[in-house]
């Protein structure tokens, strides 16, 4: 739909050229007259409104403003009776006038590990030195679109890289030159989690890598600022120079917003955050960032659900978001969060105001909306002379027919720096309405609709629609009516007062006729009907759950006093089984174990014929995380999964349904030295921070074998060191040697460059951080133990450890535990000798053995996987059960808190329908810290609710479609399931 507006769109410039520039135009004709706009309703700011006021501007600035101000004699006076003046809008996050960089082609298809830029930081994605002004070229087409949408100033920058450099503030003044319209050539410093398109440098490949890189860069910038570096680094110099600018971070969703804020907090930087529109899903956490937000308003269209087969694929979350998203701004406002709006992510700038109006319909206060477009963005970039019409501010303002957030309002003019840009002529009369046209004794009905010069007329005689042609210009209407092939050609002048028309015309025979039209007065009934129409559609907004997907909790589960009576208790303590036993849970702990217990006020669960155990612990999981591998370097000890825990993963709930209460989310196996772990409890509904164990034991993932030497990564991945097991040993020895030297320097009190990677490795040497090492083949298992012994520490856990059975004696001697798959093998060459008897053999040698999953599906039935050790290796039930409870707890150093049924331990409990190892048993209740997170009875209720909510939302979307709204094709989001080797 191309809209043709060009004809009426022109600008008149007051400033012609830079004053000291020589000109070739003959006599100097400087024009510096004042313009006074009188009789208008003026919004000086969103809250300071002058009725019937006057605005006086000169030289592109506001000279005075108020009800009674003196107007100089030489001023041009514009009467704006019944019209409104607003400060024009500011788009605070835009790439106006700057071409999006094209992705560098990597012709060799080999990964690039080193930076391409010389003299800059070691990582190409750190580009604080990029200056938007040098890339800027005023874009007339885009400027016109923005001016039409009411914007007068945009903040633009080169959107590329993790640190993106500084932005510039530009007035949308098409007839001026950059020297005038660039209001600030350093308006902010920009960041994101996305890599630069201008470089193929591998690192970082993940969100957590980007976070670690930001941290290291800030620390290096400090180090550099203090004159410690021997080299020149233009990137760090620029970063240090831009420190005082507003720092603006593009996140795109609430999880990343929290992550960015976390990094900022660590370095005393408060970012302003470009959000993604789903901040309402965790409003408390968003509020706690204390950040100002920039919000896009690209609310999604309803899904086309008319095809039931396709509609089934849309997740409840997506449907809910369609329903809830427009409430995001109002929810932020109600929570006292400061925000500005941006046109970013909108397909068409034309939809901007429409979507703001949608947000207003969803509860956003109009004043807040206006502030979010004027004073707030100005405040974010620390400018007092834009976004308001105070004396001295830029004369950037809109002239409108009325309330800027009313769909019927027309923007007439958008003035920038005192230059007029006409959007719709304000002299065009608004004729919309119903008229009775009396001509030749007949009365026709004429309806005029539309805005400005696009007002259209349609004619009816009685109920019959007649072909007609309507146009008007300069107060004259031209109307042709085809009444049964008898043409009436009418011309008439608009009579101002009543919008009545009167004129002359010719009939089909060429006779002169006279005619008149008068506007129908709406009956009060009709008006009410109209009002009712708009009010009829009462908004129904679905409540937010935590997380905001199917099976989320509307209220977070709370600790209860729970008494489970008469159950068979598998304690996981010394193979102990207690029959007909009561267990009391109080204050989140196991309070009492015994017979005939009673406590007042306890929720009693009948455990007759049921089994009670400690919750299952998965030593090796990759659920509940947004990233798993940082594959950009062969060592990434600086990254941590704790940065990227995703509390909204449905697999948390599915794990609960399988009796799992704690997991270690491990980094993947893309490199010999991987990232740090997150150890979490599956408290479904809590935020990421609340999932992570308090005082969590520190762990890190190491990996051996085919994955770290990239054996299965394809032919182009053959250049990263190491490519052989021989090289892997050297990686370890080298890093530990460096860490040892680093630690010694650090402890010596001399100045040192803080290195996040070596910090983590030094912790290992100092026995403060434990290694869980992905491992398959005996040779390298043996090797790593020897490397550790050389540096005087122990490997804590070998995970997977498929050939552990071949070196079980050596493992026992070293004191390392094993966490293995029950029966996986044959998926690659190094698991050719993997056997399901592995757990039993290692166990029989006295090693602490756990059964792990590495898989979102297997983790929800680890009880069955443990049972396989009874088939393969003849372990007893209790031995098998310990492999998924107390043994992994020991390996994770959380056995003092969980993993067995013992008084004083955390109330992490599962009630099973039968023998926990039996394939026929189900987890019926899963309790963490004394709160019930999974209840098979409530599960049935939740299913019903989900079904009903889906039906309700589908009905709402059908209504939207039948009401004529645009829809989008159904889509299904694919959530990536991670394994060790997921890139």
């Amino acid at each position: 739909m191309k809209k043709i507006l060009i004809l009426l769109f022109f600008s008149v410039s007051v400033i012609y050229s830079q004053e000291y520039f020589p000109t070739n135009t003959g006599v100097k004709t400087s024009k510096n007259t004042s313009v006074a706009f009188t009789n208008a309703t003026i919004y000086v700011t969103a809250t300071n409104i002058i009725k019937k006021g006057t605005l006086l501007i000169k030289d592109g600035k506001v000279v005075s403003i108020g009800k009674r101000i003196s107007i100089p004699n030489d001023a041009e006076v514009v009467d704006l009776k019944d019209k409104t003046i607003y400060p024009s809008f500011i788009d605070i996050y835009n790439s106006f006038g700057i071409q999006s960089p094209k992705r560098e082609q990597n012709s060799s298809r080999r990964p690039q590990y080193d930076a391409s830029r010389k003299g800059y930081y070691w990582n190409d994605h750190i580009r604080p030195d990029v200056n938007a002004a040098t890339e800027f070229s005023f874009d007339n087409k885009k400027a016109k679109e923005l001016l039409e949408a009411g914007f007068g100033v945009v903040n633009t920058h080169v959107e590329d890289g993790i640190m993106q450099g500084n932005g510039i503030l530009v007035a949308l003044n098409p007839n001026s030159s950059d020297g005038y319209r660039i209001l600030d050539k350093k308006s902010g410093n920009y960041l994101s989690f996305n890599k630069s398109k201008k470089s193929n440098q591998s690192y970082p490949t993940s969100r957590m890598g980007a976070m670690a890189l930001l941290r290291q860069t800030y620390m290096d910038a400090d180090w550099y600022a203090n004159g410690n570096a021997k080299n020149t680094d233009l990137a760090l110099e620029a970063l240090n120079k831009n420190k005082t600018l507003p720092q603006i971070f593009n996140t795109g969703n609430y999880l990343d917003a929290l992550r960015a804020d976390k990094v900022g907090d660590e370095f005393g930087i408060q970012y302003t955050i470009l959000g993604g529109g789903n901040e309402y899903e965790r409003i408390e956490e968003i509020k706690n960032t204390n950040a100002k937000f920039i919000l896009p308003v690209n609310f999604r269209k309803a899904y086309d659900v008319s095809d039931q087969f396709l509609a089934d694929k849309i997740s409840l979350h997506d449907m809910r978001q369609w329903n809830q998203e427009p409430s995001n701004p109002s929810i932020l406002a109600k929570n006292g969060i400061t925000f500005a709006f941006t046109t970013r992510d909108l397909k068409s700038t034309k939809d901007f105001n429409k979507n703001i109006q949608k947000a207003i319909k969803h509860g956003l206060d109009k004043t807040k909306a206006l502030e979010a477009l004027t004073t707030i963005p100005a405040q974010i970039i620390g400018k007092s002379n834009v976004g308001n019409l105070n004396v001295g501010s830029y004369a950037n303002f809109l002239i409108t027919s009325g309330d800027i957030f009313d769909s019927k309002t027309t923007i007439y003019e958008n003035w920038t720096q005192g230059d007029q840009n006409v959007i719709n002529s304000k002299d065009i009369k608004d004729l919309t309405g119903d008229y009775m046209v009396a001509v030749n004794g007949k009365t026709y009905d004429l309806t005029i609709s539309g805005k400005g010069d696009k007002q259209k007329g349609s004619v009816k005689f009685g109920e019959k629609k007649l072909k007609s042609d309507f146009s008007f210009k300069d107060d004259w209407v031209q109307l042709t009516i085809n009444d049964n092939d008898q043409f009436l050609r009418l011309a008439g002048k608009i009579i101002n007062a009543s919008n009545a028309m009167q004129g002359a015309g010719k009939d089909n025979l060429g006779n002169d006729i006279s005619w008149s039209a008068s506007k129908k007065v709406k009956k009060s009934d009709d008006k009410k009907k109209d009002d009712k129409k708009s009010n009829d559609k009462k908004l129904v907004i679905q409540p937010v759950s935590y997380p905001n997907i199917g099976y989320g909790n509307y209220t977070k589960p709370q600790k209860q006093t729970i008494l489970i009576k008469n159950a068979t208790v598998w304690t996981s303590e010394n193979n102990q089984v207690l029959k007909n036993t009561d267990v009391l849970l109080k204050d989140g702990k196991i309070s009492q174990i015994g017979k005939n217990l009673s406590t007042r006020g306890a929720t009693v669960i009948d455990g007759t014929d049921k089994y009670l155990t400690a919750g299952i612990i998965d030593e090796h999981s990759h659920i509940a995380t947004s990233a798993v591998n940082e594959a950009g370097h062969n060592s990434t000890a600086e990254v941590t999964i704790e940065d990227v825990v995703n509390p909204d993963d449905i697999n948390i709930y599915r794990n609960l349904a399988g009796g799992v209460t704690s997991i270690q989310i491990l980094h993947g196996s893309a490199n010999p030295i991987g990232g740090r772990s997150a150890i979490i409890k599956l408290k479904w509904g809590e935020n990421a921070d609340n999932l992570i164990y308090k005082n969590s034991p520190k762990f890190i993932k190491f990996a051996l074998g085919e994955n770290v030497k990239q054996s299965n990564w394809g032919d182009s991945n053959t250049i990263r060191f190491p490519q052989t097991r021989m090289g892997v040993e050297q990686v370890y020895t080298d890093y530990f040697q460096r860490a040892k030297e680093y630690d010694a320097l650090k402890k010596s009190g001399k100045s040192y460059r803080k290195d996040l990677e070596l910090e983590a490795l030094a912790e290992i040497i100092n026995k403060e951080r434990f290694i869980s090492c992905h491992s398959y083949v005996q040779s390298e298992i043996n090797m790593l133990m020897k490397v550790a012994e050389k540096f005087n520490f122990n490997i804590n856990t070998f995970t997977h450890i498929l050939e552990g059975y071949k070196v079980a004696d050596k493992m026992k001697q070293h004191g390392v535990g094993g966490s293995t798959f029950s029966d996986w093998w044959a998926y690659k060459y190094e698991v050719n000798d993997a056997i399901p008897y592995n757990a039993a053999i290692m166990h029989n040698q006295g090693i602490t053995v756990a059964i792990n999953s590495d898989d979102a599906e297997m983790s929800r039935r680890l009880n069955q996987e443990a049972a396989k050790t009874m088939k393969y290796g003849d372990l007893t039930e209790q031995e098998a059960w310990r492999m998924v409870t107390i043994n992994p707890a020991k390996l994770l150093h959380i056995d003092d808190r969980t993993g067995s049924i013992k008084t004083g331990k955390d109330a992490d409990i599962v009630v099973w329908s039968g023998n926990p190892l039996s394939i026929y048993s189900k987890a019926e209740k899963t309790i963490i810290d004394g709160a019930i997170y999974f209840d098979i009875e409530k599960e049935r209720q939740k299913r019903k609710e989900i079904k009903a909510e889906r039906a309700k939302l589908i009905e709402m979307m059908l209504q939207e479609k039948l009401g004529g709204a645009e829809t989008q094709a159904p889509t299904k989001k694919e959530h990536k399931l991670f394994h060790c080797d997921t890139e």
Binding site: Y829, K871, S918, T971
Partner: protein
């Protein structure tokens, strides 16, 4: 684990040094246990709980077999002469050998080693591709099926739209000819998806979107089989090998296995094949098949479902929907079998009894669950005259387990027979177990 994805490694490009691959095979060429000789001695199994595989159970049972065939199934209280070697199965359980449908066993050994992968041929319409000739009887993966009771399987090619022709084999054989239980039993087709995945490498959203080419792809299948039909009714010159290979679909002696998900696609597929005169159909995967149960029953079409151990396919689907699948379809009156396609499908096929056990845990009667991997699968493959139940006249393909064979705690085979031949239950894995256990014992 997602079905329809051949393996977690197939997407990775890899090429190994030829010498490495050579080393692999030379180094391990002593793979499988020596196949047992033909049954000459009679056997009697007495006192066990016999799960017949047809839904019946006989406590304290008496089972006898001679010359590879079952000669008696009854109660041990019966006073008849016990033939040959008597095995006391008191306290134990007797089962017919388990049958896996839709597997690619023997067509690949190690997923990540390309040289060992023989299941996916290049091309789109490949009915003439025959799995049986690539079937490797020496596969160590196949050997590992036997200690879990899985003795028979349909070997199915993957890939393409029409993937090729499958055969049914038993797991104790010198070569593929010996192994064959039923040659060229069916032709497999991968039905187009109504949804297509975004091409993320082109910057598209990786989620699912309606497949705009669905109708076009269905039409291509229709035209192919209509063309084949015309060819087969003519003088067949010049010879068209692919069309020749589908002739048994039209004379109904061969089945078409339609790998398809979603009610719309299932209806489309049935309509299409009926319209070209192919009526001997099996639905494979069959997500949402319960919603078209009436149509399936009316056309006598069974469904081969996937393993129970998989995740729900949609975020807000019931967490246990995959576990309840068998119950839902069985209740709808459909003949249900259990197949094995998707992530790690070959090495995980030994878990077949545990998938059946999980289906039992979530509503299906235990003996009904057993039928999924015995008589139902035999019927679907058209081999129920030979295997699938402990019934007189059928092959003596059976085993004794210490306990419930659908539960991993108690699935422990003591004796096993294929066609009356006594199987070794040793494997590469049991050998390593014993070797290293002995190492530590002797230290």
């Amino acid at each position: 684990m997602t079905p329809n994805k051949n393996s977690k490694f197939t997407t990775m490009k890899k090429q190994f040094l030829y010498s490495l691959v050579c080393f692999l095979f030379l180094g391990n060429s002593f793979a499988q246990q020596t196949p047992a000789p033909k049954q000459t001695n009679d056997y009697t199994i007495e006192g066990g709980t016999a799960h017949l595989g047809n839904g019946q159970v006989i406590e304290n049972s008496l089972i006898m077999f001679s010359n590879g065939k079952i000669s008696f199934v009854g109660n041990a209280n019966m006073k008849i002469a016990r033939k040959g070697t008597v095995i006391n199965a008191k306290g134990k359980h007797v089962y017919p050998g388990f049958i896996a449908t839709n597997t690619s066993l023997g067509l690949a050994e190690i997923d990540a080693v390309r040289a060992t992968r023989d299941f996916d041929e290049v091309g789109t319409m490949l009915p003439h591709i025959r799995s049986i000739i690539a079937y490797n009887t020496e596969s160590k993966v196949i050997e590992s099926m036997r200690p879990n009771g899985v003795f028979t399987a349909q070997i199915t090619p993957r890939g393409g739209t029409v993937s090729g022709t499958s055969s049914v084999v038993q797991f104790d054989a010198w070569n593929w000819e010996d192994a064959a239980v039923k040659l060229d039993d069916g032709i497999h087709i991968n039905w187009p998806n109504t949804f297509s995945r975004g091409r993320w490498w082109l910057g598209e959203d990786p989620g699912l979107k309606p497949n705009k080419k669905y109708a076009e792809e269905v039409t291509a299948i229709k035209e192919y089989f209509e063309d084949a039909k015309r060819y087969l009714s003519g003088n067949r010159t010049p010879k068209n090998l692919p069309y020749e290979s589908v002739q048994n679909l039209f004379n109904k002696s061969q089945k078409i296995f339609i790998h398809v998900n979603g009610k719309k696609s299932i209806i489309d597929a049935i309509d299409l094949f009926k319209s070209v005169g192919i009526t001997n159909m099996v639905i494979v995967h069959g997500e949402e098949a319960e919603k078209v149960a009436t149509i399936l029953k009316a056309n006598n079409i069974p469904v081969i479902i996937e393993r129970a151990h998989r995740l729900p396919s949609n975020e807000d689907e019931d967490y246990d929907l995959p576990f309840r699948n068998a119950k839902i379809l069985t209740d709808a009156g459909i003949l249900v079998g259990l197949g094995m396609e998707g992530d790690m499908e070959r090495m995980s096929a030994r878990n077949l009894p545990f998938y059946a056990g999980t289906y039992a845990a979530y509503g299906l009667d235990k003996e009904e669950a057993l039928k999924l991997i015995t008589l139902n699968n035999a019927k679907i493959l058209g081999i129920d005259d030979k295997v699938g139940a402990l019934e007189v006249g059928k092959d003596a393909t059976l085993f004794i387990s210490e306990g419930d064979a659908l539960d991993m705690r108690t699935n422990k085979l003591t004796d096993a027979f294929i066609q009356g031949r006594k199987l070794s239950l040793e494997t590469h894995q049991t050998k390593l177990w014993k070797r290293y256990s002995n190492k530590y014992k002797n230290q």
